[in-house]
């Protein structure tokens, strides 16, 4: 037996380039659209050109006569078997959840809704045949504005009306907080509708052999999808295997059970041949669920010195035409975040979910938290301006101080850790805050046509979704646990199975780092498996910045179990009492006699051989663990944005951007930094560029990337990032980082734009802050006679 294993530097905190890259940079990827099966057919959909209409007739005869077309179906052909697409989050008891057939049968309720499907030998023929389908509609009035959709006399999206639910929540005496408050501000902010635009379009391949279904899908949620496909179609869950191969980004948009996935299963069952569907970008912009889309009325009450008394939030949230997987729950994830990092006496929150004849909304990076963070951080800046305080000073007056953790907020969440002072101090220094404020004053004084604005966002968020009990109390349809397995191979190598299915986050690398430290095996000797319900049968998948804080902890538990099993076997191998053994990752040795020991690899081999295992010990070092968190985790940070605004053209240019994030302990700084960069860019995109636009008839105008302005490298600034660290209250000390940047950056940028224009009397610019919007905001303010 070898003496000691070589001492290894800890993997945690090491900037490891990713294992995943080897296939991604060489084009050896396995996207769903790459999959080709013998006899595979291609599906193409005919989609509604109307926002709202009754289908009066569908005739697929001509389409079927085209050579190479195998079949064509209208919605009615699946009426008896297609079920209703699931909504797993009925947020109130009296919520209206309309029937949502994967393919419309009688009525269409948004442009792009599927009405017929063609199945052909190749994708070109399928597309041709779609054009040959004859369909007639009787147009019905669209419903496009949630502010008027609840008016009496408004056309109805569904027979039950346009209100889906009303959900309210509060704590403290809100009336007392506002009564006689020296300062009360009321604002209405617009969260525009966004299109997620993951770079990989959705795709699905389905096959059925002997009653057993395999579905490859560009999905974030293979496990959830499996359960839902079983529930929707009636196919036994045991006969469904879902594989998420390489998945090209999600951002929440692939956290969905889609019409096309269900129909692929139904079509392959009907035809007995494998089918594939891959969307075009234009199709995707119309029919991948959208994000945000809220009107936020927010009132804040404060004392004269800026101390916050209360916050009153009233949201109108656009559900779109139907409730999809977690549609109604998204705005409610923000309910607990409006109070952010601040102490106050009372909070009141109300949200009304409203139907429109538009694509349904659902999770999009941040999912409810960016909306909440935007509103509170915007109004904090407005309140500071009202009180004549520096916006950072106002925040400092109200935030939870580092000595106060753990702190139970007015929303009832217990923030386990944080250090807002440290993150803010670091950000101010990197940003040269005081210097930029001086420059701003100078430019204002000389009436520089290009003004400088400084935007602040001292954000927090809740991630690590989620304690199952909390989800239950919110009427969510599932738990929030995550699963992990460790398989010790005879040669000492390790297979790690995770239920969290990655699509760009780098699990294969980060999980290897965690296991390397826990088990004391080399990083290179570990392989991480995920994204296939046959390989990883149990999981809750990837969203809500949950993978590390929940899935990572499951991994640690699974490693513990391996070590526990290994200890008994090691004791037998070195003929010592298990109580006398000491574990340093990778090796057991006898306490007081460190030379005497065995490595985990030697134990793995001995377990495999099973020749001399202690009595009653099973020959296995493998382990399974399922981890259900006790609490959310709460990353936070201070983001500062300096924007130059050309007051003559309305053009906004971000001059510098500093992000100091506290995501707890960091497993891989390269990955964390990448997540922060990408998140910030996505938040900047909401602030300055992106908006899903429907015309008065309910047609989506932004169907292409020429109209929907996903920013390019030339449109986003170089970022300066740094970190502070207050470890979370879990064994790894980790919080999560997937959404932080997006949550933080939108208000930072808009606050900078507004800050630049305050001398003109501007107090808000509606997103996206395009040159036209900025210019008009200046003109409107000047016409109001507020110009100085």
């Amino acid at each position: 037996m070898t003496a000691q294993t070589e001492a290894r530097a800890p993997e945690l905190g090491r900037p490891r380039p990713r294992k995943e890259d080897a296939r991604l940079v060489t084009g050896q990827t396995n996207w769903t659209d790459n999959i080709v099966l013998p006899g595979m057919l291609h599906m193409a959909f005919l989609r509604s050109p109307y926002a709202h209409a009754r289908i009066t007739s569908v005739d697929v005869t001509a389409a079927k006569q085209i050579p190479g077309v195998i079949a064509a179906f209208a919605g009615a052909d699946f009426a008896d078997e297609q079920g209703s697409l699931p909504c797993a989050w009925p947020v109130t008891e009296d919520i209206v959840i309309p029937n949502h057939p994967p393919m419309a049968v009688d009525e269409v309720r948004y442009v792009g809704e599927a009405v017929a499907v063609v199945v052909a030998r190749d994708r070109y023929t399928a597309a041709d045949a779609v054009d040959a389908i004859e369909i007639d509609y009787e147009p019905l009035p669209p419903v496009l504005d949630i502010r008027t959709a609840l008016d009496e006399g408004s056309p109805r999206v569904h027979e039950a009306g346009n209100k889906s639910f009303e959900w309210a929540f509060g704590n403290g005496d809100i009336d007392a907080a506002f009564r006689d408050a020296p300062v009360v501000l009321e604002r209405t902010y617009r969260q525009q509708r966004l299109i997620p635009c993951a770079m990989e379009p959705r795709a699905v391949v389905a096959t059925c052999v002997g009653g057993e279904f395999t579905i490859w899908s560009a999905t974030q949620i293979p496990h959830v999808l499996r359960v839902m496909l079983a529930l929707v179609t009636g196919i036994g869950e045991q006969n469904i295997r879902v594989i998420a191969p390489d998945v090209g980004g999600g951002f929440g948009s692939k956290l969905q059970v889609t019409a096309e996935e269900v129909l692929a299963v139904l079509v392959t069952r009907k035809l007995g041949r494998p089918v594939k569907w891959t969307e075009s970008r234009s199709e995707g912009n119309m029919t991948v669920h959208h994000g945000r889309d809220q009107w936020q009325r927010i009132r804040i009450a404060a004392d004269a010195d800026g101390r916050l008394r209360g916050l009153d939030v009233d949201l109108l949230a656009d559900m779109g035409a139907y409730l999809m997987l977690v549609t109604p729950g998204i705005p409610l994830l923000g309910a607990f975040m409006f109070n952010a990092i601040y102490k106050m006496d009372a909070l009141s929150f109300k949200c009304t979910g409203v139907f429109t004849t538009k694509m349904p909304t659902d999770a999009y990076r941040g999912a409810g938290r960016p909306e909440a963070t935007f509103a509170i951080e915007r109004i904090m800046d407005d309140l500071a301006a009202e009180l004549g305080l520096d916006p950072l000073a106002l925040r400092e007056r109200n935030w939870i101080t580092r000595e106060e953790f753990p702190f139970t907020t007015i929303a009832g969440l217990t923030y386990d850790s944080g250090n807002y002072e440290a993150a803010t101090a670091e950000a101010k220094e990197l940003f040269r805050y005081d210097e930029l404020r001086r420059e701003q004053e100078e430019r204002n004084a000389r009436h520089d046509p290009v003004r400088l604005g400084i935007g602040i966002s001292t954000f927090t968020e809740m991630c690590g979704l989620a304690p199952s009990r909390v989800l239950g109390s919110l009427a969510y349809g599932a738990g929030g646990w995550e699963s992990a397995s460790i398989r010790m191979l005879p040669t000492g190598k390790v297979e790690v199975v995770t239920g969290s299915s990655a699509h760009g986050q780098g699990h294969e690398t980060a999980w290897s780092q965690i296991v390397a430290d826990q088990l004391g095996v080399p990083f290179e000797d570990i392989r991480v498996l995920h994204g296939d319900t046959q390989i990883s049968p149990k999981g809750m998948d990837t969203y809500g910045s949950r993978s590390l804080a929940v899935g990572g902890m499951a991994l640690v538990s699974a490693c513990d179990k391996v070590v526990e099993k290994a200890k008994v076997i090691a004791a037998g191998m070195i003929e010592a009492s298990a109580d006398d053994l000491e574990w340093t990752p990778g090796r057991f040795s006898v306490r007081g006699d460190p030379e005497k020991g065995v490595t985990i690899g030697e134990i793995a081999l001995a377990t495999f051989a099973a020749h001399n295992l202690p009595d009653g010990v099973e020959p296995s070092l493998d382990s399974d663990a399922t981890y259900d968190p006790d609490n959310f985790s709460f990353p936070h940070g201070t983001h500062l944005c300096a924007a130059e605004v050309d007051t003559e053209t309305g053009m906004v240019t971000i001059r510098s951007y500093v992000a100091v994030d506290d995501v707890g302990r960091v497993v891989n700084p390269l990955i964390v930094e990448g997540q922060v960069h990408g998140g910030i860019a996505q938040g900047i995109a909401q602030a300055l560029y992106e908006e899903a636009v429907y015309d008065d008839a309910g047609n989506l105008l932004t169907t292409t990337l020429a109209d929907y302005l996903v920013p390019s490298a030339a449109d986003v600034p170089s970022l300066e990032t740094s970190r502070t660290e207050s470890p979370a209250d879990n064994r790894l000390g980790v919080k999560g980082v997937g959404e932080a940047g997006t949550i933080a950056s939108t208000p930072a940028v808009v606050n900078a734009v507004v800050d630049a224009l305050r001398p003109f009397g501007v107090s808000d610019v509606t997103m996206p802050c395009s040159p036209e919007r900025v210019w008009r905001a200046i003109q409107a303010a000047q016409q109001n006679g507020e110009a100085r």
Binding site: P17, R18, E20, D21, A22, R23, L24, V25, T26, G27, Q28, T29, W31, D33, N34, R123, Y124, C197, A198, M199, E200, P201, D246, V247, G248, G249, F251, T278, S280, R281, S282, H503, G504, Q505, G506, L670, I671, E673, G674, Q675, H677, G678, G679, I680, A681, Q682, T704, L705, A706, V710, S712, A713, A714, V716, S718, L719, G741
Partner: protein
């Protein structure tokens, strides 16, 4: 159907194709070069960028018949064939974490290769402008710019 002869990543192919077939579909579905993905249908995203006779093209906006007689290099042919040694851009993208989901990466690397051929020592701003035709949703571009800079320092010219 039209007969075309195309060299792709060093191997020659002769095929009958529909005149309307896009080069990217030819590469992916006829030749089997699935390393080149499709991200849009309006030539905005650049995911499908390949080198055609040494210059970058978006293969969704080229017809397969237009590539008759052409020499195409995809991401799969960028590494040094014999020993499989990665191109300096592939190495730099890996080392500097210039990719996350990796869907835009083939097009981004090919476009960067073309950029460096035109301008071997670009500034950060020149890189940002040079890659304007390639969209990435994951990285915020910061590490992509750094990776291209590093490859430029290593003296990549093709």
């Amino acid at each position: 159907m039209s007969k075309i002869t195309v060299t792709v990543d060093g191997a020659s192919y002769a095929d009958d194709v529909e005149p309307r077939m896009l080069l990217v579909h030819y590469l992916r579905e006829v030749v089997g070069k699935t390393g080149t993905p499709i991200g849009c249908d309006t030539s905005n995203c650049g995911a499908c960028t390949v080198l055609m006779n040494g210059e970058s093209v978006k293969s969704c906006s080229v017809l397969a018949v237009q590539a008759d007689g052409a020499d195409i290099t995809t991401i799969e042919g960028l590494a040094n064939g014999q020993n499989g040694e990665w191109h300096p851009l592939q190495r730099a993208f890996h080392e500097l974490h210039a990719l996350q989901c990796g869907y835009c990466t083939p097009g981004m690397i090919i476009a960067a290769a073309d950029l460096l051929r035109d301008n071997p020592h670009p500034s950060a701003q020149e890189i940002r402008e040079g890659l304007e035709g390639n969209l990435c949703r994951c990285t915020g571009y910061q590490n992509i710019v750094r990776a291209v800079q590093r490859a430029a320092e290593a003296g990549v010219t093709s």
